[in-house]
Amino acid sequence: MITKRIIPCLDVRDGRVVKGVNFEGLREVDSPVGLAKYYSSCGADELVFYDITASSDGRKLFTEILRETASGVFIPLTVGGGINTTEDFERVLSCGADKVSVNTGAIKDPSLLERAAKLYGDQCVVLSVDVKRVDGVFRVFAKGGRENTGLEAIEWIKRGVGSGAGEVVVNSIDTDGVKRGFDIEMLKKVCEAVKVPVIASGGAGSIEDFINLFKSVPGVDAGLAASVFHFGEIEINKLKEEMRKNGISARLGG
């Protein structure tokens, strides 16, 4: 059967990985290319690059970095950040991205998902959603979690999948950065609502959090995290060995 995927996420600004990185024996810890190779060799199933650059110069640097990564890392690469048009899709796909993740771009123009899916196939279009509870309702937030769109999250995700998103990344703002586990309640609701792969994000603090995620929400396909991997708090190979011990299917090796 298909394995549960573990996905490190790298925020890239002006060609460098943002958020501190703390690995012994790994030089150039802020180089996305070096870090991508490192993660690939220790068992990451996929990599997500988020371009958090604001300037066009930075964007150019990002695509160069992406190209360099894709030429030496042979696992699936997903790219997000600043994807607003099908031209943005083209730009990152031609540099070696396999999937493109859309967040605010889809909120601004919901037709983007459908147009991109027609051009590049559903498997290429990932809907990324930042979700936060407001008065007991799951709401979609835009612009990196700063702006409440008023959209109800589950409906928005269903609509996105209906338009052609082949995968969904759900980031819980409520659990993000707290390191006390994934947002099980919200993820269960998402997995009940859609039949495409669901990637859980936000809240991973320990190996147990991943095991609890996959056991509590069997419909979740992957767990995504950033700092726990970057700071070496969780080693991916070790995480996967623990997953296997707990009866969760995982791929070992690089």
Binding site: M1, T3, A70, F74, D98, G121, Q123, K195, P197, G253
Partner: protein, 207 residues
């Protein structure tokens, strides 16, 4: 030298780089003489079968590929490129393929239960059923490779090299003599995938 056939479907940058990673020179080309002169041919592909088959035909690449297959040159089809090697596909209608391997391409939903997600996407293990094709000489039983597909190749058992279990044993790799197909993406399958590309590069021309 390896010719990666460029017929306007998908981005071939990573595929080219993955051959470089196993020390093999590959060119992305639609030039017929370049394809003829290559030692081996790779037929990639993403998207819909009908469109891809039409594009191959429009450029007369279908005839070229059939001739090259007949000459004994090793040919590797990947993902949709693998499906194109079969006789026909039932993806949105019925479309003729290159008929280099007997069999037809059918929806996965025909053979698996409704609660499994489609596409079959992610890392799955290869089961070789005791078979050992030269293109898998460096591979081991249970090696994980990366799949993304909603249709599968329905081919007689003698042509199946490996399967992946997803509610049913789906054809993961198939071959007919010098013509080989991988449903998964070896160029996105980490070390396990590079081993397969390396072994393919070392296969010999037959006949």
């Amino acid at each position: 030298m390896i010719a990666i056939v460029d017929y306007g479907v998908g981005n071939l940058f990573s595929l080219k780089c993955s051959f470089a990673a196993v020390g093999e020179n590959a060119v992305v080309t639609s030039d017929k003489s370049e394809i003829k002169n290559a030692d081996k041919i790779v037929l990639p592909g993403v998207g819909a079968f009908g469109d891809a088959a039409k594009k191959l035909k429009e450029q007369n690449l279908d005839i070229l590929l059939k001739d090259e297959a007949k000459s004994g040159k090793p040919i590797l089809g990947i993902c949709l490129g693998m499906q194109l090697l079969f006789e026909k596909s039932f993806e949105y209608g019925e479309h003729a393929g290159l008929a280099l391997i007997p069999g037809a391409v059918r929806p996965i939903s025909d053979v698996i239960s409704g609660d499994l997600k489609i596409p079959h996407m992610g890392w799955n293990a290869l089961n070789f059923h005791g078979k050992k094709h030269p293109a898998f000489k460096y591979s081991s039983e249970g090696d994980h490779v990366y799949f993304v597909h909603s249709f599968y190749a329905d081919t007689p058992e003698e042509f199946v090299l490996a399967t992946a279990e997803y509610g049913a044993p789906l054809t993961a790799a198939a071959a007919n003599g010098n013509v080989i197909g991988c449903q998964f993406h070896p160029e996105k399958s980490g070390k396990a995938g590079l081993k397969i590309l390396k072994a393919f590069c070392e296969t010999e021309k037959s006949r």
